[in-house]
Amino acid sequence: MAEKSMSKSHFPWKHIFGYIMSIVLTAVALLIALYSNFAVRTIVILIFSLAFVQAALQLLMFMHMTESSNGKIQAGSMLFAAFIAIVVALGSYWVLEFGIHLNHHE
């Protein structure tokens, strides 16, 4: 929706949209952290998910990630980096989980 209006006028719809969404996402995170009755684990998961959504949003709306001549390469490398980060962090945790488990029982 933002792109169509972009091409017609110079009004920075994208930035406005990104700005409002960022405020909304931050506010939601704050509300969850301060006023919700979820378990701590759930709160942490929710906040992290909101943070990742916001990071992606900012990259798209403010950082012009996909707009330059090599936008595809930029987007691809970001996605690959995210993939590697997830593999390294979660993969290590998953692989070594049994070890952590052992230590706790000793």
Binding site: G91, S92, L96, F98, G99
Partner: protein, 625 residues
């Protein structure tokens, strides 16, 4: 710490090495002074930022390291030739297999391939240099200083002895006292800086500096593999950097990342090491695939079969290479679920690799094959590498791996992929691009001898090791007893190792012989090539590579030009060329990095003894040897 702890003493081999180092240094210094070559060395080589010269220096350094790693290998094979051999003791043997592995991977295979990438990639994409020539020089010098630091351990302080994988807690202060392991950590850290910078450099170069019309899908296959290798480098090497830093902290400043007590986790080291270590395997094999693709296409005089499939498969390999690392420690004790998943991902990697093998075979099909030396190395690679590949799939089965793990079966497997893949490709690439570097070919007749001696020797060395492994011979043992029945196969293996040594010596002789007697190339097109590096005006391209940047209209750009009868060097109007200046900074920076790293190798506390008047020692004497 006293001097006799600083310098390694008491071993005849090491004494001989020390003496020979001193003599060689004197000879080099004398020779340079006598022939007045200091200026030449400094201006033409040490301060150069020219990609081709840096590439040549990488290759020379890699060949020196191949020699050192090869001598290590021959010493190990001699020790294992007969039962109860007294050639080396356990400590020496541990040090030698550690340095052999580290040197061959980090200081031989990678720099050799990076050297070939340096020589060929800018020429292949029609660029005048890499994107960051200064950074390129810095990469080389940090790598070189890292390699020297690591090699220094042999005569000063003692070599690391915890295996090239440096598992904790074996590599901790308790079980590996002395500075040896610190040499490993700092040497790898230092050269890792260079590798990382190279990765960035090549990505930017390939994405940004391609000549007009050279779209991504028209790039030569070697350039593609260089690109994907660089991607793997910049994602994998930070893991090694962090892991090495953590182990350094554990050893020097008593942190507890990988310790057994204080909440440390030794298995995390193995995990992080292989998170880097497996992608590393593909860092050294993908460029090899690229080299073979170029050579097959050139000498079969056909366009590479299944170009798109090749590209897709190397991209797939780059992704898969990050999700298989657990297969290096199936026996660690993770559950059946973890092992099964990694078993499957590992087997999956055989698919894109298999696609490549069939593409090469299809390229050969109905080609007009010329059996030049680079081509016979390539043809030797296909069956030998496939043997390594299928035994890899055997090892990939987690349940069966409990049998193969840590035996000579594994040793044989990774030598079959690393030698038949990487080393064959280094030799093939060196011979293929040799005229681009030095203006003459290597002698074909001697080259054939080198190939056959080396290839047969390689099979005699490693084929028996599969059976030794199935017989239960563990790796990293320094001797065995006659009753175990491993004598005959071990002895055969040792014979093969010496054949490989002879092959290598003959290759070096060939370099000398060809320098003296081989005919000089008159054109830039030595092999009737297909890609842009052969389109330059002379055999050794001028330092600006192309007076006029070529314009590309399809795959195999130079071949197309030749078909259309275009003269690439016909220039109507000269344009201005901007080339970078030489710089001494990378060398000087690397020297200081070397000094800083060397100081870290010997923990602070010991320095207090050196500096007599330093009363206020910063650290309590906790680490005492």
């Amino acid at each position: 710490m006293s001097w006799d702890e600083f310098i390694v003493t008491g071993d005849p081999f090491i004494l001989a090495a020390q003496i020979s180092i001193v003599i060689t240094t004197i000879v080099i210094v004398f020779g340079l002074t006598y022939f007045k070559k200091w200026g030449y060395l400094w201006n033409e080589w040490i301060t150069t930022v020219d990609h081709r010269k840096i590439g040549i220096m990488y290759i020379i350094a890699a060949i020196l390291m191949l020699f050192r790693g090869g001598v290590d290998a021959l010493m190990m094979r001699t020790q294992l030739a007969t039962p109860n051999m007294q050639f080396l003791d356990a400590q020496n043997y541990n040090e030698i297999f550690t340095t052999h592995g580290t040197i061959m991977i980090i200081f031989m295979a990678m720099p050799f391939l990076i050297g070939l990438m340096n020589v060929a990639v800018p020429l292949q994409i029609g660029a005048r240099d890499l994107a960051f020539p200064f950074l390129n020089s810095l990469s080389f010098w940090t790598f070189f200083m890292g390699a020297m630091l690591f090699n220094l351990s042999f005569v000063i302080g003692g070599s690391p002895d915890a295996g090239w994988s440096a598992y904790m807690p074996l590599a901790s202060n308790d079980l590996s006292p002395g500075p040896g392991q610190n040499f490993y950590l700092l040497g790898l850290q230092l050269s890792g800086i260079g590798t990382l910078a190279t990765g960035i450099n090549f990505i930017v170069t390939i994405l940004r500096m391609r000549t007009k019309g050279m779209t991504l899908m028209r790039m030569p296959m070697f350039t593609w593999t260089a690109l994907i290798t660089s991607v793997i480098i910049i994602f994998a090497f930070p893991i090694l950097t962090v892991a090495l830093a953590m182990q350094t902290f554990d050893r020097l400043w008593d942190t507890a990342f990988f310790t057994l007590q204080d909440g440390g986790m030794p298995m995390l080291w193995a995990n992080l090491f292989w998170l880097w270590g497996h992608p590393e395997v593909y860092i050294v094999i993908l460029p090899a695939f690229g080299i073979f693709s170029e050579i097959i296409s050139t000498f079969a005089r056909k366009r590479l079969f299944g170009y798109t499939a090749m590209v897709i498969s190397i991209v797939a390999i780059s992704g898969l290479s990050f999700v298989v690392w657990v297969h290096h420690f199936f026996t660690m004790g993770a559950g059946a679920m973890v092992n099964s998943v990694f078993s499957i991902t590992t087997m999956a990697i055989a698919v894109p690799t298999g696609v490549k093998i069939f593409n090469w075979l299809a390229t050969l099909h109905k080609g007009k094959i010329r059996f030049s030396v680079p081509m016979i190395w390539t043809l030797g690679f296909i069956p030998n590498f496939t043997i390594g590949g299928v035994t890899g799939v055997m090892l990939a089965m987690a349940a069966a791996d409990y049998q193969y793990h840590n035996t000579y079966f594994l040793v044989s497997h990774f030598h079959y992929v690393l030698i038949a893949g990487t080393v064959f490709s280094c030799f093939a690439g060196l011979i293929y691009w040799y005229p681009k570097m030095f203006g003459h070919k290597l002698n074909e007749r001697i080259g054939r001898w080198v190939f056959w001696i080396f290839m047969i020797g390689f099979n005699i060395t490693f084929f028996p090791q599969y059976f030794l492994g199935l017989d239960g011979m563990p790796r990293r043992v320094y001797t065995y007893i006659p009753e175990e029945g491993w004598f005959s196969l071990n002895f055969i293996s040792t014979i093969g190792a010496f054949m490989m040594g002879i092959g290598f010596a003959l290759l070096i002789y060939n370099i000398y012989y060809s320098f003296r007697y081989e005919q000089r190339e008159t054109t830039g097109d030595s092999w009737n090539g297909r890609t842009l590096e052969w389109s330059t005006s002379s055999a050794i391209p001028p330092h600006y590579n192309f007076a006029k940047l070529p314009k590309v209209s399809g795959q195999d750009a130079f071949w197309e030009m030749k078909q259309l009868g275009e003269d690439t060097n016909e220039i109507k109007q000269y344009e201005k060329i901007h080339m970078p200046n030489n710089s001494a900074n990378p060398f000087v920076m690397s020297v200081f990095l070397f000094i800083a790293s060397f100081e870290l190798v010997f923990p602070m506390v010991d320095y207090c003894d050196f500096r007599v008047d330093w009363n206020t020692c910063m650290y309590d004497s906790k680490v005492v040897y």
